[in-house]
């Protein structure tokens, strides 16, 4: 694939393991996701109180983005020059079910804004933008399969036409049964 040369740094999280540029940097298998991601958050001393309010999908995206962007990867760019192109297949299914459960019983009806706000997948993008002061172009696509080539090409074109100088790109998907995050930088 032509884009490998243009892709710098990547962080991948799956099955209780975290890889930075292909190298295993953290492992906590055989624990539920919530414990695993909190373990990673503590291990890497990410220190961001808002993390604890996030839903699982955003926590996964947040930890992946933090590890990818550590060492000030974005320091030479202005906020408007940084773009985000992300995708997943299950949108916000886990939090959707949580919200749906809160309105199932008319006698015990308790929809919560703190839950409902996480029923949009681009909230992940918003959380990352707030943390890293990213103000450029962004888009969230949903597709049943991870089409890395399409996302990379889209990011590359955004850079080629001058709408961004660097692009945070990739896939973050979470369900009770499975999760996978792969974020990388295109510049």
């Amino acid at each position: 694939m032509e884009n490998t040369a243009a892709t710098y740094r990547q962080c991948e999280i799956k099955n209780g393991e975290i890889f930075l540029n292909g190298k295993l940097i953290f492992e906590k298998k055989e624990v539920p996701f919530a414990k695993f991601i909190k373990g990673a958050y503590k291990h890497f001393e990410l220190r961001y109180p808002k993390f604890h309010k996030m839903d699982r999908l955003c926590k996964l995206a947040f930890v992946t983005a933090n590890l990818l962007l550590e060492d000030n990867q974005l320091k030479e760019y202005k906020p408007e020059e940084i773009a985000v192109v992300m995708s997943n297949s299950n949108s916000t299914l886990h939090t959707d079910s949580k919200h749906a459960n809160s309105i199932k019983d008319k006698e015990n009806y308790f929809p919560s804004p703190a839950v409902f706000v996480y029923t949009l997948p681009n909230i992940m993008v918003g959380e990352i933008c707030i943390r890293y002061k990213i103000k450029g172009e962004s888009v969230f696509f949903v597709s049943n399969e991870y089409d890395k080539e399409m996302l990379t090409e889209y990011s590359r074109e955004m850079i080629d036409c001058g709408d961004a100088k660097i692009c945070l790109c990739g896939w973050v998907d979470y369900t009770e049964a499975n999760y996978y995050a792969n974020l990388y930088l295109v510049k």
Partner: protein, 401 residues
């Protein structure tokens, strides 16, 4: 070498993106003209619904009734195979297609779908449908396979800017000549899922919404679909050709559920869209705003227009006519804006009575005929996202003459 490349790219002419056809389906009617006629008459589709399947207490929303949808859906082949939202999408795309010679089965044609929640009404209770129909990707495949389109559809799921952003995504792909035609369709339903969520935010109005008004108290949700067919090929008609001249998106990087207080995020999107269109703010004849009628959103928009030097330009929000149709909103409202340009018509911003934002925005209070050349459409949403596109009317002179 890299510098040289950049020069070539910026010096390259941007390929024009023509809007060749459109369709709107809302509570106001089936078809663009039916919707525009009602808007022009000042009619609203927002009504008080006392329906426990939407919310335990009465709510003001704009809904497409089964008695309107069923006869229309009967035109589809095997309508029972499709969910309510899919039926609306299929009808909208089919009707927009009929007005063109676009071959939807060609490799050169792509479908882009904008939706925030898709078939969310199936979650937990899919009825006759398979449970994976709640996946946006699976819903998109239904639409793709109905029309026998060979390309995997793109689904843009980006909160309330999904529709406007989908048009900008299409613009990028067409400029790169990846496709000859792109069918951009946006849709969402009024469901208990979204109504209860917006209620929990205390963002819903308990009366018809009043964008930019002093007494505005929140949104009315709405449902429907809008479809725009875009092409790199110039339409054969000589008059009233409308193009997408530019577009952009931005993030506030401020708050996930509240807009920026300063309007700088939306301003950034507007500024970039105008640059992309090679336009000055002084060239804008009309602004089709997002105008949800929540206190913060409308205030933020006024600040952004102040920063962009657009306060004097006539503007409206269409939420008073059709409610906030979420993923469909940006496309439906863009279609009305395109027809405003074509018909040289400005439509009043329904629900507005008394000025209620800090800056003196120019809200359209009565329908008006006026020569219009260019307009701007904006949207803002949860996650701090903003998008803007610029539409222009091409004055095509007789090329033979």
């Amino acid at each position: 070498m890299e510098e040289k490349m950049e020069f070539i790219v910026t010096a390259m002419e941007k390929a024009p993106v023509y809007i060749i056809s459109d369709n709107i389906i809302t509570s106001l009617g089936f078809g663009t003209q039916a919707n525009i006629d009602k808007i022009s008459d000042g009619q609203t589709g927002v009504q008080c619904h006392n329906d426990a399947s939407i919310y335990p207490t009465p709510v003001w929303v704009s809904k497409i009734t089964a008695s309107n949808l069923s006869p229309a859906a009967a035109q589809l082949s095997s309508p029972e195979k499709y969910t309510k939202l899919e039926q609306i999408f299929l009808l909208s795309v089919a009707e927009a297609l009929q007005q063109t010679s676009v071959d939807i089965t060609s490799k050169d044609t792509l479908i882009i779908i904008a939706s925030t929640k898709g078939n969310i009404n199936l979650l937990g209770d899919p009825g006759n449908f398979s449970s994976d129909r709640v996946q946006l990707g699976t819903m998109a495949e239904q639409i793709q396979s109905y029309f026998k389109n060979p390309n995997k559809p793109l689904v843009v799921c980006n909160a309330c800017i999904s529709g406007v952003l989908a048009l900008d995504v299409a613009k990028r792909l067409l400029r790169k000549n990846k496709y000859k035609n792109i069918i951009v369709t946006g849709g969402d339903l009024v469901t208990e899922f979204t109504v209860s969520g917006f209620q929990s935010f205390k963002a819903m109005s308990d009366a018809p919404c009043k964008p930019y008004d002093k007494n505005r108290s929140g949104i009315n949700l709405g449902e429907g679909a809008g479809t725009m067919i875009l092409s790199t090929e110039k339409p054969s008609s000589k008059n009233n050709i409308i193009t997408i001249e530019g577009g952009a998106s931005s993030n506030d990087a401020n708050h996930i559920s509240g807009p920026s207080r300063t309007g700088d995020g939306l301003f950034n999107a507007i500024r970039k869209a105008l640059n992309d269109a090679n336009c000055l703010s002084s060239e804008m004849d009309y602004l089709s705003m997002h105008g949800t009628a929540t206190p913060y959103n409308d205030e933020m928009e006024s600040k952004a227009l102040g920063l962009a030097d657009l306060l004097h330009v006539p503007m409206n929000s269409l939420k008073g006519y059709i409610g906030h149709t979420l993923g469909a909103a940006g496309i439906i409202e863009s279609i009305v804006a395109v027809h405003s340009l074509k018909n040289n018509s400005l439509y009043s911003s329904l629900g507005f009575e008394e000025h209620g934002v800090t800056l003196p925005v120019n809200i359209i209070t009565r329908n008006e005929k006026k020569q219009l050349q260019k307009c701007l459409k904006t949207a803002s949403g949860f996650g701090g996202c903003n998008a803007a596109v610029v539409f222009a009317k091409q004055n095509i002179k007789s090329e033979q003459g």
